[in-house]
């Protein structure tokens, strides 16, 4: 327990210390990564700890994002209350979807969550007039302030993202080491046995799903406020898959796995799209005289290969392997 507190404290302290040191480029990246990692932390509660694989979490991210952004845009709310409204939207979405989707298990659960998320995505596209669909809309810099702080300022933005991430990280660490967390892990391992120990698995799964949705929604709302943009891409299936990949990479069922996975994947995509694939395209053209215009932008190919290797050789993710080999106490 003390080790766990020290470890999480050290990670947050490291992120504070990094702020003034980072170059402008990495500074902006890390602020974005922290918001996305918050999304992954939420996803991990459901997937990593409770063992429920959702393919529809983008709807919760989008519920937070649009709940917040639309109130600012249409009702001219200030961003503070709008943020909270976004979180409430995600909470309600989590409750409603959970009550229905949790009647299914395994592949059924994956399909039902995927379908709900597609319906949400199409709904956002359908109400184009308000949401501006794919194109999305921006939130003007002038209104992105809370308590006199300008959230578009890079330092303020970084720390706002860090506060959000830290709250969710500590919340998830406290949850998984609590009594309720022990039941969630047990459901992942053997749901039938948990029922025969007198627990109602449905209630615990619903709790995990709602907490997961709330964190996803908080991340979505924060994204809208901090980066001043909302668009329906964030509700697409791609954004349901991303947190799954981040968590798989970092280590499902480890508190810090989501952050590590998001960082690694972000820079892998960055490196693949910025260096490897354009280099490969130039090499192919130079050596074989074949023009391959699509190759330079096919960075997802490299990401895909990385993931296949990961699932084949390290299905427990980076921190899952670390826990199994060196640090069995890792929460």
């Amino acid at each position: 327990m003390i080790k766990s507190i020290l470890l999480h404290g050290a990670v947050i302290a490291l992120l504070i210390v990094l702020e003034p040191v980072l170059s402008e480029y990495h500074h902006g990246n890390l602020a974005r990564i922290l918001v996305l990692a918050t999304y992954a932390v939420g996803y991990n509660i459901l997937f990593g700890y409770t063992g429920l694989l959702s393919l529809g979490h983008a709807m919760f991210f989008a519920a937070g994002m649009y709940g917040c952004a639309l109130m600012v845009r249409l009702a001219e709310w200030s961003v503070g209350p709008a943020f909270l409204f976004g979180v409430v939207c995600a909470l309600v979405a989590g409750l409603v979807v959970g009550m229905l989707a949790l009647r299914t298990i395994g592949v059924g659960f994956m399909i039902v969550t995927l379908m709900f998320a597609e319906a949400a995505h199409l709904t956002i596209a359908y109400y184009n007039e308000y949401t501006r669909g794919d194109e999305g809309f921006t939130i003007p810099q002038a209104v992105r302030t809370v308590a006199g702080l300008d959230l578009s300022d890079t330092t303020t933005r970084y720390f706002a993202a860090l506060v959000l991430f830290s709250v969710c990280l500590i919340g998830s660490a406290a949850l998984v080491q609590s009594r309720a967390g022990r039941v969630l892990v047990a459901i992942r391992e053997n749901e039938d046995r948990v029922r025969m120990l007198g627990f109602n698995p449905f209630r615990y799964k619903l709790l995990a799903l709602v907490l997961s949705a709330v964190m996803a929604g908080a991340a979505g709302a924060a994204y809208a406020v901090l980066f001043g943009y909302a668009g329906s891409t964030f509700a697409s299936v791609q954004y349901s898959i991303f947190p799954l990949l981040w968590v798989l990479l970092g280590g499902p069922g480890t508190t810090l796995g989501p952050l590590l996975g998001t960082v690694l994947m972000f820079y892998l995509v960055d490196y693949a799209s910025g260096t490897v694939m354009p280099g490969l395209a130039a090499f192919v053209e130079g050596s074989f005289g074949i023009e391959a215009p699509g190759l330079a932008s096919a960075y997802l190919l490299l990401v895909g290969i990385a993931l296949v290797l990961l699932v084949l050789f390290a299905p427990r993710g980076v921190l899952g392997v670390v826990r199994a080999r060196v640090m069995p106490w890792l929460p």
Partner: protein, 240 residues
């Protein structure tokens, strides 16, 4: 002391497609007794006790626990009332420590009681089955015999009124079986025991009453001596 009916079933039927797996017209388990359910493979023993503890619903019939109709009650609520079931196929949480395995039911009991110490209850259950010194080891890495004992400890940590044990001695060594018999005799002082068992020496050593199932029906019921002498039982089960 007059026998007090604790758990009873009337007209209990379970059909799987066209197969009538269980067809028990009347069954009564009395408070404080050790009851063994025996019968040939496929007699419906596990299905029968699964109906009692609510793992699946009966096709027809009525189940009562302490004069309360629990036929439609979900399994987890029956556990909360005091009916605990330990699995035939070892069903522990293999990736968790022994302590975490028993802490779950201990924590459930504490929640139901509205207070108490989870750690003491969990360690107490491990001590009773002799696994306390292994509390922090991973359950899946234990020998089969220890996993079976852990399974029993999980049942004990729930502090049940009725403990249903489904073939608990399967796969145990002879020396472990003697310890197991002593353990169950100890537990039986505060808990009613319903035991499915194939090992006849264990049945004869423990059971006060025996119910013989064959093809889903109660073939005979009585004391071990009476069952041993019963011609129908001998023909069906004990091999004549």
């Amino acid at each position: 002391m007059a026998a007090v009916a604790q758990l009873s079933a009337t007209g209990l039927v379970k059909d799987f497609g066209g197969l009538r797996a269980v067809d028990v017209s009347a069954f009564t388990l009395n408070e404080g007794e050790i009851r063994a359910v025996i019968g040939p493979n496929g007699a419906g023993k596990t299905t029968f006790v699964s109906l009692l503890c609510g793992r699946f619903p009966p096709s027809a019939g009525r189940i009562e626990f302490e004069e309360r109709d629990i036929t439609a009650m979900p399994a987890h609520e029956r556990v909360a009332l005091g009916i605990a079931y330990t699995f035939q196929i070892t069903s522990i949480f293999g990736n968790l420590s022994l302590y975490d395995n028993v802490a779950l039911p201990a924590q459930r009991r504490v929640m139901l009681d509205g207070g108490g110490a989870v750690r003491e209850r969990a360690m107490g259950a491990l001590e009773r089955v002799g696994l306390a010194d292994r509390a922090q080891e991973i359950a899946g890495a234990q020998s089969y015999g220890h996993q079976r004992l852990l399974e029993v400890a999980m049942g004990l940590a729930l502090g049940p009124k009725v403990l249903i044990l489904d073939e608990p001695t399967q796969g145990l060594a002879d020396s472990e079986i003697d310890e197991f018999i002593a353990l169950i005799q100890d537990v039986a002082r505060e808990t009613t025991i319903l035991l499915i068992e194939h090992n006849m020496p264990v049945v004869m050593a423990l059971a006060e009453q025996i119910t013989v199932l064959d093809q889903g029906r109660v073939l005979a019921e009585g004391t071990p001596e009476a069952i041993r002498a019963d011609a129908a039982v001998q023909a069906a089960y004990l091999g004549g």
